[in-house]
Symmetry: C2
Amino acid sequence: MNPRTRLLLVDDDTNFRERLQRALVARGAEVVAVASAREAGGVARTGGFDGAIVDLRLPGESGLDLVAELHGLKPGLPIVVLTGFGSIATALEAVRLGARDYLTKPADPDRILSALRGEVAFAASPAEAPPGIPSLDRVEWEHIQRVLTEAGGNISQAARLLGIDRRSLQRKLAKHPPPR
Amino acid sequence: MNPRTRLLLVDDDTNFRERLQRALVARGAEVVAVASAREAGGVARTGGFDGAIVDLRLPGESGLDLVAELHGLKPGLPIVVLTGFGSIATALEAVRLGARDYLTKPADPDRILSALRGEVAFAASPAEAPPGIPSLDRVEWEHIQRVLTEAGGNISQAARLLGIDRRSLQRKLAKHPPPR
DNA sequence: GAAGCGGTGCGGCGAATTGTCGCACCCCGA
DNA sequence: TCGGGGTGCGACAATTCGCCGCACCGCTTC
């Protein structure tokens, strides 16, 4: 990440995009941030980028298509896909289309950078890290966190998305600091 | 799937393995089923297989290692990875190691076969199928199903794994036919 | 500036769910 | 035949949830 890496950031969530852009710039990268696949296609054609960060849920065109497009433009380009809460199917699809890695959204900037560098970060140990079976509370908690992030921290909206009462969400958040 | 396809099935769960084997045989395949990575490595070396189905959580060696081994033995071999409840990270890792697809475990035999054939089944539409945000109930229910399968239908054990009371699990199962 | 709108925190209360204990029954290996 | 473990189910108290309502705030629009 040294000679002024140029990155293309594509995400329609303004807040998230700007925060991530700042974080990446702070780490020494040059970041071109756009909000749509259309814009991304345009600027990608102009400049030589060293990597791309693509949100999967984009207005209009799917991020998946953008991945394919970017990959076609410059086959070796490291692309990482970001998404609010991903499915295994779309993750595999993204990789098949040329993405290098696939991260879920409350994503650590350092994690993103190392993914772009190709450090899979996880394959360190040959044996799989046995995840154990997550408790019900655990799963619930993680899902709440994902949706909350997805909703941009908006509790009311998150509650609607989760199909529970806002009050209940508040209580869950208040009690549940870390279920484990 | 015509001229007597030979498949290698690797899963340590006897019940699940035999059920799946029967289902595959019923669909016209010849199936060699083994319970461990060690056995799998042995028989894989002997016979010409047309595909392999590998459980990720195997006793001792990880299914991931087995995937790599099988892939090394015969690079073109279609391998699908099965797992009780998978993570995106391990799914990507499995594909990197040579697996063709990655399915979570209450898996439809037909789905497995089409995955082996390379029909990604999902990539039909270029645009992503927007999964929407799963409700809390939905997520809970799906997780319960996974764990229940993992426990081989043993309600008491599943309840322990989920960290809830057996009685509660019973009630959830009784009420929740399909939360949606 | 004053509505109007949507978000947040919080109290309260009846209804629904959960945790727990107990009991009866079954299957299976010692 | 006994003991261990699984299953279904009833009962009851303890929680939690759904659903009001209220107060307060920031923002956009008249």
